[in-house]
């Protein structure tokens, strides 16, 4: 069973996206599509023909596979329901962030490949956001890693840390990082199709059919993975340390509750905040960097 915990992320990530959309719709007074809508969308896209720009090169065709495969590889590193994860020797939390960076790198290249201004704009903005997010994300993870004495995610999760001042600060920074990485309001608007305001969608503009399905699915997976990392690192209580099926079942139940909480939080943030101007991002992300820095200093000063 522990060999297949990454399948939870692979299979359930569209559902989480559906739930977030449904919650958002309800909070905004709309009925909204059903929670299984992302699955229908993916299946529909997979069955469609593709229209590809004649300007593009092989990079454009390789990118969906690289993005999907790298996100899937990342999901094997992360412990989902048990810390006895057999694949965690592959890498640690630093490797995970760099695997995400690999996907982002190729996605940004594919944005430039079609030779349109929108793709380039999306790439440029995505890389800029990454510049602001990555140090902050790394620093907030460092705090957790230092207090657990390891960068291995399963060990951080297994160390059973409780809330401490430094953790709360690091968690706040990490939450802002998640919002930025998943392209949500107030950083990016996932629902927009107005070319000038798009970041993530801008890069995907030229994709259609099967490739678009892969890119979308990878995006859902990345979102759920980031949620999972957050719960693994910052509130691991309830995750199983063994492989007995009963323990795994209860761990799964707790995990779902935690992820639903994260999804609800995202929907709440998106419904109550407005998207901010691109050049105001440094203030919010810089603020998050300060939080992460404070969390590290707090840990060093107070040792907790």
């Amino acid at each position: 069973m522990e060999y297949f915990q990454f399948l939870i992320i692979l299979m359930l990530s569209p559902l989480i996206q559906g739930i977030i959309r449904k919650l958002k719709a309800n909070m905004q007074g709309r009925i909204g599509p059903g929670i299984f809508q992302p699955y229908y969308d993916l299946i529909r896209l997979l069955k469609k023909d593709m229209v590809i720009s004649g300007v593009t090169s092989w990079i454009f065709k390789a990118t969906p596979y690289i993005v999907f495969a790298s996100t899937a590889a990342a999901s094997m590193i992360v412990p989902v329901i048990t810390t006895k994860s057999p694949f965690d020797v592959m890498g640690d939390v630093i490797a995970l962030i760099y695997i995400f960076a690999l996907g982002r790198f190729f996605m940004a290249l594919s944005g430039l490949d079609a030779g349109t201004a929108f793709g380039g704009e999306g790439s440029s903005r995505e890389m800029t956001v990454a510049i602001l997010v990555e140090p902050m994300m790394m620093l907030s993870i460092f705090t957790a890693a230092i207090s657990a004495g390891s960068t291995n995610i399963a060990r951080i999760a297994g160390s059973g840390l409780l809330f401490s001042p430094s953790h709360i600060l690091a968690l706040s920074a990490f939450m802002i990082a998640i919002i930025a990485e998943t392209g949500r309001i107030p950083v990016d608007n996932p629902d927009t199709h107005l070319e000038l305001t798009m970041i993530h969608e801008g890069m995907l503009l030229e994709y259609s059919g099967k490739y678009l399905a892969l890119m979308e699915w990878a995006h859902y997976m990345k979102q759920m993975l980031l949620f999972t990392i957050a719960v693994d690192i910052f509130f691991p209580a309830g995750i199983s340390n063994g492989t007995e099926s009963l323990a795994l079942a209860s761990s799964f139940g707790i995990y779902i509750v935690k992820i639903l909480f994260m999804a609800g939080l995202m929907a709440l943030v998106e419904s109550t905040r407005a998207k901010i101007r691109f050049f105001q991002l440094p203030s919010i992300l810089g603020g998050a960097f300060v939080l992460a820095l404070l969390s590290l200093l707090t840990y060093i000063m107070m040792s907790k």
Partner: protein, 663 residues
């Protein structure tokens, strides 16, 4: 065979390569690089031997009673010889095709071979005088190579390089004089044995001078200003060697003096190196991001990567000063691993840039575009280099940066509060550097190789010749191998770190590498295999679920405009605009907008826009100093009037003064 015979083979081939180049006749000149590549292979074997044997004297030629000309090697030399040889081999193969259209093939062949030999000489030097002679030879030969293209820009770059490198050498001479003054020995091993006689404050002075002297060669900020001028000015095979390995001799010198000879120092040495490393890496990559000249961009990335190497070395020095030798060894492994990696991927990228320039006759990436279709191999190899330098898995840059992160994170085990705070911040700096580098190479690769040709330069270009492709291919393959099989590289590096720290470090080898202290493991091979398996299963999944497999080729989305022109693509300047805006306190950008009207203010005839960033270090540090020197020189000039009588008067006055005060 004896170990030395490989050295002799290597030397013989390089030397005969240099001599054959001087023979008249141009036809066969490109094939002397075959000799160089055999020489490099010989040196590579020799370097490997040195790593796993005891230190030994190679060659000693007494000149006078005071000093002799001596070369000796140990593990540290062996490692750097190996690094130089790997790149020298690939660049030699590349040069067969690259130099074919050169005007002055003979001179190039001669300088090329002597340049590589002089780098070997630097890392093999056994005493002060030999070191300084080799160091100067290397600097002067590289000066000739920088000014190889006889245009004004190269001449100016060469001048800046010559001045900077000699300032660095001046500091080195003072450094060696201090060492000699207190130990009375010229040989490195002798000085090392007596290094306890050097007082502590003198040791610190030597340390500071070694940062300035070797840092100038390595290109750390603020001594980097020559680097983005000189490296792009040289022909690309030479830029590749300069950026890939020549600046590493600075790292070698630093390790030799500050770590090997002087032994463990106080903690602030290491902290200073971490801070210098962090500043160099962040500012280096930031300036790189604003460059649209492909080779200048790569040159700035050398500044960045030297910074990353120094992060590892600095962490190693911090741990060593507090006696945590295992951690010190780990951090040193990280730094040396990155030294090797940087040589491979930066060499590759410069060769790629050389191929692109060879084909398009431009350095400006705003004039390129769409090259991946006309130059598929160059494009692929440049992409491999880009992915490696951005430290993305599963390529080599990732492994060394991962090790650097681990060593910086382990800084919390240190006893002092300063290093507890500085090391994780060094890690955050590395994360920022990584993200900036990724943005930079999305720009460099995306704008030059993807999209539509942006100018006539990029149309109808041809792929490079076979030897150039092979030269790049070797390095691209090494980028992958050093990334996927880190165990092999660790076997090569561990003798060096063991020699310097007395501990094997904690990275265990094999298909996985891991740090026993933090129980963190990494296996790039597993990541690669997982990704391949996932890609194949995705492909199968798509083929089974999706019914139709038709792909229709159309136009890019153009908002309904009848056609998209290449000028409507995103440009490199536009791509980096957000970063320029966000970090404007660092870049201090200036812009100029010239609008000319037919009828003001409605009918615009033309708009001219130019924007640039302020080169902070040149403008606020170097220009005032050079200005002051110029002014002083102007004042001194009064003495030198050109009148013979006045000069005779000076001699007379000096003589009288000497007679009065000399006794």
């Amino acid at each position: 065979m004896e170990i030395e015979s490989y050295l002799h083979i290597g030397f013989l081939f390089f030397f005969s390569g240099a001599m054959f180049s001087l023979l008249p006749g141009q036809k066969t000149k490109t094939y002397i690089y075959i000799l160089s590549s055999i020489g490099a292979a010989g040196f590579a074997v020799f370097g490997l031997y040195l790593l796993f044997t005891e230190p030994r004297n190679m060659f000693s030629l007494p000149i006078s009673s005071v000093f002799d000309f001596s070369f000796c090697g140990d593990g540290i030399s062996g490692f750097f010889i190996l690094v130089i040889s790997i790149l020298a081999f690939a660049v030699s193969v590349y040069s067969i095709g690259y130099t074919r259209d050169l005007d002055n093939k003979g001179l190039m062949g001669f300088l090329f071979n002597i340049f590589i030999l002089s780098m070997y000489a630097v890392v093999l030097s056994g005493n002060i005088i030999t070191f300084l002679i080799s160091w100067e030879t290397m600097s002067i030969i590289s000066y000739f190579l920088v000014t190889f293209d006889r245009d004004e820009k190269s001449a100016k770059a060469g001048l800046v390089y010559a001045v900077m490198t000699h300032i660095g050498t001046a500091f080195l001479i003072v450094l060696f004089m201090i060492l000699y003054r207190y130990t009375g020995d010229m040989g490195f091993s002798g000085i090392k044995g007596l290094s306890s006689q050097i007082p502590e404050d003198m040791k610190s002075l030597v340390f500071i001078f070694s940062i300035i002297g070797f840092g100038t060669k390595a290109g750390i900020i603020p001594f980097h200003t020559w680097l983005p001028r000189a490296h792009p000015a040289a022909p690309s095979n030479i830029s590749s060697l300069m950026s890939g390995v020549m600046i590493k001799t600075g790292i070698y010198g630093f390790i030799r003096i500050s770590m090997d000879i002087m032994g463990p120092g106080p903690e602030w040495w290491g902290i200073a190196i971490i801070v210098i490393g962090a500043v160099s890496s962040i500012l280096g990559v930031m300036y790189a991001l604003m460059e649209h000249d492909l080779k200048r961009l790569l040159a700035y990335h050398s500044v960045e990567n030297i910074g990353i190497i120094l992060l590892g070395i600095g962490a190693s020095m911090v741990f060593r000063s507090s006696g945590m030798l295992a951690l010190s060894s780990l951090a040193l492994i990280a730094g040396l691993y990155h030294t090797l990696n940087h040589a491979v991927f930066k060499g590759l990228l410069f060769l790629g840039a050389g191929s692109v320039m060879h084909a398009t006759h431009t350095k400006n990436m705003e004039d390129m575009g769409g090259l991946i279709k006309s130059m598929p191999y160059t494009g692929l190899f440049f992409l491999v280099g880009s992915v490696s330098i951005c430290a993305l898995p599963p390529f080599n840059g990732f492994v060394s940066e991962w090790l650097t992160y681990q060593s910086l994170l382990l800084g919390f085990k240190s006893t002092s509060i300063t290093s507890k705070i500085i090391s994780p911040l060094g890690g955050a700096a590395l994360a920022l550097t990584g993200a900036l580098a990724a943005a930079c190479f999305v720009k460099a690769f995306g704008i030059s190789f993807l999209g539509m040709p942006r100018s006539c330069h990029a149309e109808n270009v041809k792929e490079s010749s076979l030897s150039m492709i092979i030269g790049m291919g070797i390095l691209a393959l090494l980028c992958l191998l050093f990334g996927v099989f880190p165990g092999i590289v660790l076997t090569i590096i561990q003798p060096v770190s063991f020699m310097l720290t007395g501990s094997h470090g904690m990275a265990y080898k094999g298909i996985f590498i891991g740090i026993s202290e933090t129980l963190s493991t990494l296996s790039p091979a597993a990541i690669l295999i997982t990704m391949i398996v996932m890609s194949i299963s995705t492909l199968i999944f798509i083929l089974t679920v999706g019914r139709k497999k038709r792909i229709i080729y159309g136009d890019s989305w153009d908002c309904g405009i009848p056609w998209l022109t290449p000028r409507m693509q995103y440009s490199a300047a536009a791509f980096t605009k957000p970063v320029r805006m966000i970090f404007k306190r660092i870049y201090l950008p200036t812009r100029e907008l010239k609008v000319s009207y037919l009828v003001k203010p409605f009918f615009v005839k033309s708009i001219e826009y130019s924007g640039e960033i302020t080169p902070f270090f040149e403008k606020y540090i170097y220009d005032p100093v050079t200005g002051f020197i110029h002014k002083l020189a102007g004042k001194v000039k009064i003495l030198q009037s050109g009148s013979l009588h006045l000069y005779l008067a000076y001699i007379l006055i000096t003589l009288i003064l000497l007679l009065i005060f000399g006794t």
